[in-house]
């Protein structure tokens, strides 16, 4: 049985994952955070969730550059699974730098809620959560 997390972090930078988790927990002890180090693992997890009809996390922070399957590849796979997903999933593209070509490419994916630049600080996170959970966190 999979426990439904609130937030999914997908990034190959383990330090980043560590920092994000810490920052999120500083904001709220209640939010459950799951992490994956590449897109492939994240896709496997999501398809497993849909198979077992477990609700997906409300927020996914997705890195662009990752081995095995990158952020774009993840989005492609996510699109394929979309029919089986029944709750709202907010996907944020995260990158240490966004090139113009990346921004343009990002606009092609309607599943993307937005993108943020690393490092993501507490204030930014609080704003995102406020928008999604409406003070309920």
């Amino acid at each position: 049985m999979i426990i439904k997390p609130n937030i999914l972090l997908v990034d190959d930078d383990e330090l980043y994952l560590y920092i994000m988790e810490k920052t999120i927990h500083q904001l709220s002890k209640d939010l459950v955070v799951s992490t994956f180090t590449d897109g492939e693992q994240a896709v496997e997890y999501i398809s497993k969730c849909t198979d077992e009809k477990v609700e997906l996390p409300e927020v996914i922070f997705l890195d662009i550059n990752m081995p095995f399957l990158d952020g774009w590849g993840f989005l492609n796979e996510f699109k394929k699974l979309k029919d089986k997903i029944h709750n709202d999933v907010n996907i944020y593209m995260v990158s240490s730098s966004m090139r113009d070509s990346d921004i343009k490419r990002a606009s092609d994916f309607e599943d993307l809620t937005g993108y943020v630049i690393k490092p993501v600080n507490k204030v930014q996170l609080a704003e995102i959560f406020k928008k999604i959970y409406h003070e309920n966190w």
Partner: protein
């Protein structure tokens, strides 16, 4: 230049001069024809005049011959009264020089000789039986008239001075009983007639000749009948004699610069009734016919043709001057034009050369541009790589440091501190990788040389222990029929081949005889190298975009930094080569390198 002018001038002038000569000749002929037409009319008028005069005096003679004379006619004696009637008549007709009756023996019966215009002397009878005209007269029949030669009058056998050209008309006379009693002989003065003939309208010459070509009168001589005076040598143009031989009718002879017009004057054998209807016509007997000739002498001809000659010369002079000027101007222009064209041509050649040079430069600039573009892209990639990959550890570090400063809990601090070490390590790795990459970007130091590809592949192959052992089941196939030598960086090529062999060994499939094949080809004039293996392959749909990117790994179970193909592409890009991939999971991968 002058030679060309002369050549052109001759070319132009020759036909012109030919044409002018032709026109001149035809004009000359026309002039001469016109002249001879005038001449013909002139000679006809004169002939008619001469014939009229002859006929007039024949008519007179005819009148005398038809008088009815008394029987035993004695004009000096018993019949003076008969003669008295006629003496005034004889006196009036001033052309009569002598009027005589001669009996059948040749003895003069009556003789009237003119002294001057209004006096005559009668008498002083002579015997004329030996005279030719008397003999001819006595031989005449009733209806015949005799007209003698024109000759100088002689008295007692001596030519009378001044020369007096006369012609004698003779006719038989009869008495009332129709008995022949003698002859009437009239000497007509011919000076007036001959002078009239010789009178000139134009500057032509007139000749009157008898049948023996003896000159009776000519405008060349004041005195008539020069042959009778014994001056026959050289008085007559010899040419004329030879020219008129055999002429019987009106004809023209053009000889040298003379035009001769000849008209025979024929009286002998002609008949004339002298206006009488009742009497039969009389036959005229003459010892000789005449020729009347009008000559247009060279001086007249010249005078007529002079304007023609003048215009010919004027035309030719103008033509020569005009044509010479034309030729000079034309040739000068032509020479200038040729010079201009020559200059133009040399300029054209220079332009073509410049154009070639420009094109070369263009090609060079294009090549430079190409390599600059590639370099730009590489730099941009490098920039991205640095900013992306270096930024994340650095920002992470700053966050960790920030956390450490705020953290009081020693337990958590102990957790945080190793993270810094982790960051340091990742930065070190990154710097190493960047170093590798920069060494490729900075291809200034790359030495291009001729590479024996087969030798190079075999050398690289020997670096892998897997290929040395036969029982591992990995083979390196080399098929370089299309080409096996290439100008390239040996260091790069070794690195590229090393990465391909390394990858195909790393990602070989289990349970098959694994191999990698290097195959050369020529496509669109480019050297192409196919690198094919039968390894596990790649999901092209998922990873196609990322194959040649840094830190991209596609197989979780197999170790790798995600740098091999990134470096291969960089090394190919650096020397303007390209690489593409085609792969299928579970079948194998083919790379196509275009140099």
């Amino acid at each position: 230049m002058w030679k060309r002018i002369l050549k052109m001038f001759i070319g132009l002038y020759l036909p012109l001069v030919a044409l002018s000569l032709y026109v001149f000749a035809s004009q000359k002929t026309k002039q001469i024809t016109t002249l001879s037409e005038f001449q013909k009319r002139d000679v006809e008028i004169k002939k008619t005049y001469f014939l009229e005069q002859c006929n007039a005096l024949l008519a007179d003679t005819h009148y005398w011959a038809n008088l009815e004379y008394p029987v035993n006619f004695d004009p000096m004696g018993k019949h003076t009264a008969f003669m008295d009637r006629y003496i005034e008549l004889i006196k009036e007709i001033t052309d009569y020089d002598q009027f005589r009756f001669i009996d059948l023996k040749g003895q003069e019966l009556y003789r009237a000789v003119r002294n001057n215009a209004d006096s005559i002397t009668i008498g002083n009878l002579q015997n004329k039986e030996n005279q030719q005209y008397v003999k001819e007269g006595l031989a005449l029949n009733k209806d015949q008239l005799y007209l003698s030669q024109i000759s100088l009058n002689r008295e007692h056998g001596i030519i009378e001075k001044p020369n007096k050209p006369v012609i004698r008309a003779v006719a038989p006379i009869y008495d009332t009983t129709e008995t022949r009693i003698g002859l009437v002989v009239i000497n007509f003065k011919m000076k007036r007639v001959l002078d009239q003939l010789k009178s000139k309208v134009a500057d032509t010459e007139l000749y009157l000749l008898d049948e023996n070509h003896r000159l009776i009168s000519s405008s060349l001589h004041e005195e008539d009948l020069p042959y009778e005076t014994g001056r026959v040598d050289n008085i007559f143009p010899n040419k004329l004699i030879t020219s008129i031989k055999g002429i019987t009718k009106d004809s023209t002879i053009i000889d040298d610069d003379h035009i001769w017009r000849m008209q025979p004057v024929i009286l002998n054998g002609t008949k004339n009734s002298f206006g009488s209807i009742s009497k039969p016509p009389s036959e005229i007997i003459t010892p000789s016919n005449w020729y009347m000739i009008i000559e247009i002498p060279p001086r007249l001809l010249k005078k007529y043709l002079e304007p023609l000659y003048d215009s010919l010369i004027t035309f030719n002079v103008i033509a020569i001057v005009g044509l010479l000027a034309l030729c000079y101007v034309f040739q000068k222009k032509k020479t200038q034009k040729e010079l201009f064209y020559k200059e133009l041509e040399s300029k054209n050649i220079m332009l073509t050369r410049n154009s070639d040079l420009l094109e070369e430069n263009n090609v060079m600039v294009n090549e430079m541009n190409n390599s600059l573009e590639i370099r730009n892209k590489q730099l941009s990639d490098f920039n991205y790589l640095i900013s992306h990959n270096l930024r994340s550890p650095v920002t992470s570090m700053s966050v960790i440091v920030d956390m450490i400063q705020k953290e009081k809990n020693p337990e958590i601090l102990n957790q945080l501190l190793p993270k810094l070490d982790q960051i340091a390590k990742s930065i070190t790795h990154l710097t190493e990788d960047i170093n590798d990459y920069v060494s490729i970007l900075d291809n200034q130091e790359v030495k291009i040389e001729d590479i024996d590809l087969k030798k190079l592949i075999l050398e690289v192959k020997n670096e892998f222990t897997e290929t040395l052992l036969d029982d591992t089941g990995f083979e390196v196939l080399i098929n370089l029929d299309a080409w096996d030598h290439i100008s390239y960086s040996k260091f790069y090529m070794q690195s590229i081949v090393h990465n391909f062999i390394s990858n195909s060994i790393k990602y070989k499939r289990d349970n098959v005889a694994s191999y990698i094949e290097f195959k050369s080809a020529i496509e669109n004039k480019h050297k192409v190298l196919y690198v094919r293996d039968n390894g596990i392959g790649l999901n092209m749909e998922r990873h196609g975009d990322n194959v040649f990117k840094l830190y991209k790994r596609f197989h979780r179970n197999i170790s790798g930094k995600g740098m091999g193909l990134f470096l291969v592409k960089s090394q190919l890009d650096a020397l303007n080569a390209t690489i593409t991939i085609n792969s299928k999971e579970g079948v194998g991968t083919t790379f196509k390198l275009i140099f």
